[in-house]
């Protein structure tokens, strides 16, 4: 009887901690923005996807063009750096400024080795997309079982 309640409590506590973690992730996003935050990343915010044969990184970089971003790959570490200058127009008075200029550098290590020759990056509508392919050795492989 008591054992059962204990299990239930643990399960609920686990679910709750998971939910809180998710809340934190999203909260951070909403607060982070252009202010370089220390919690849960920084600028630019990124998403990492596993495409099976490789990885996809997306970063929110409104206002940046391909000229403003440096992308380097060292083994399995990707570094994004650059600068977003002020785009305030000349001869205007300011009513509100929420979009501050930012200089950034951000590195993250990928879960596995990628092929440095097969990296593609593009920017559209303020979203940077980086496509990386796993090295041949790292690709998932199907092994057929032979009948003996």
């Amino acid at each position: 009887m008591f054992g059962y309640i204990g299990d239930l409590d643990r399960t609920l506590a686990l679910m709750d901690s998971l939910r809180r973690q998710m809340d934190r992730t999203f909260d951070t996003y909403e607060r982070a923005g252009r202010n370089v935050s220390t919690e849960g990343g920084g600028y630019p915010p990124i998403n990492l996807y596993d495409t099976g044969s490789g990885f996809l990184i997306k970063a929110e970089v409104p206002g940046l063009t391909e000229k403003d971003i440096n992308l380097t790959l060292n083994q399995d570490v990707v570094t994004l750096s650059g600068e977003l200058g002020a785009d305030a127009p000349e001869g205007y008075s300011v009513h509100r400024r929420e979009r501050a200029p930012v200089r950034f550098s951000r590195s993250f290590s990928l879960p596995s080795q990628v092929d440095p020759k097969r990296v593609e990056a593009s920017i559209k509508d303020g979203i940077l997309t980086i496509q990386l392919e796993r090295t041949e050795e790292q690709k998932p492989r199907q092994i057929s079982v032979k009948a003996s």
């Binding site: 951070t28 206002g63 785009d87 205007y92 979009r99």
Partner: protein, 127 residues
């Protein structure tokens, strides 16, 4: 119970299932003699997914963003969302000539002032 939050979660699920977060986009607002200029960060939004509505004395900015990814998400710091922000329109905006431009995820909205509301320099004649 470990935490009261579990009981406080909303139970009217029908409406919550498809809920998307609406976020306030960051904006800059400038003014000069001829116009008000609004710059807004709306990364990931294409022209078709952006709507700008001028009401009586309100400007409503709405944008819908989908990241449409089939790949497995491993780490997320942003997500599909809607941008929404309302502004009180200042007096004397010439509605007919409001123009907008979207480039690199930044919306640039120009709200020209009507002729009658522009500052005028008055010459002082020597008597």
């Amino acid at each position: 119970m470990a935490d009261g939050n579990l009981e406080k979660r909303p139970t009217d699920t029908a409406e919550h299932v498809k809920e998307r977060p609406a976020v306030v986009p960051r904006v800059d607002v400038y003014e000069n003699e001829k116009e008000y200029l609004l710059l807004a960060d709306v990364p990931g939004v294409s022209r078709d997914n952006l709507s700008i509505n001028l009401d009586q004395d309100e400007l409503l900015l709405e944008a819908h963003r989908t990241d449409g990814d089939e790949a497995t998400l491993m780490a997320a710091e942003f997500r599909s969302l809607d941008y929404r922000r309302k502004f009180a329109l200042p007096q004397g905006v010439d509605r007919a000539s409001v123009s907008a431009e979207l480039r690199n995820g930044i919306l640039r909205l120009s709200l020209p002032k009507a002729e009658a509301h522009r500052p005028r320099r008055i010459e002082i004649k020597a008597g």
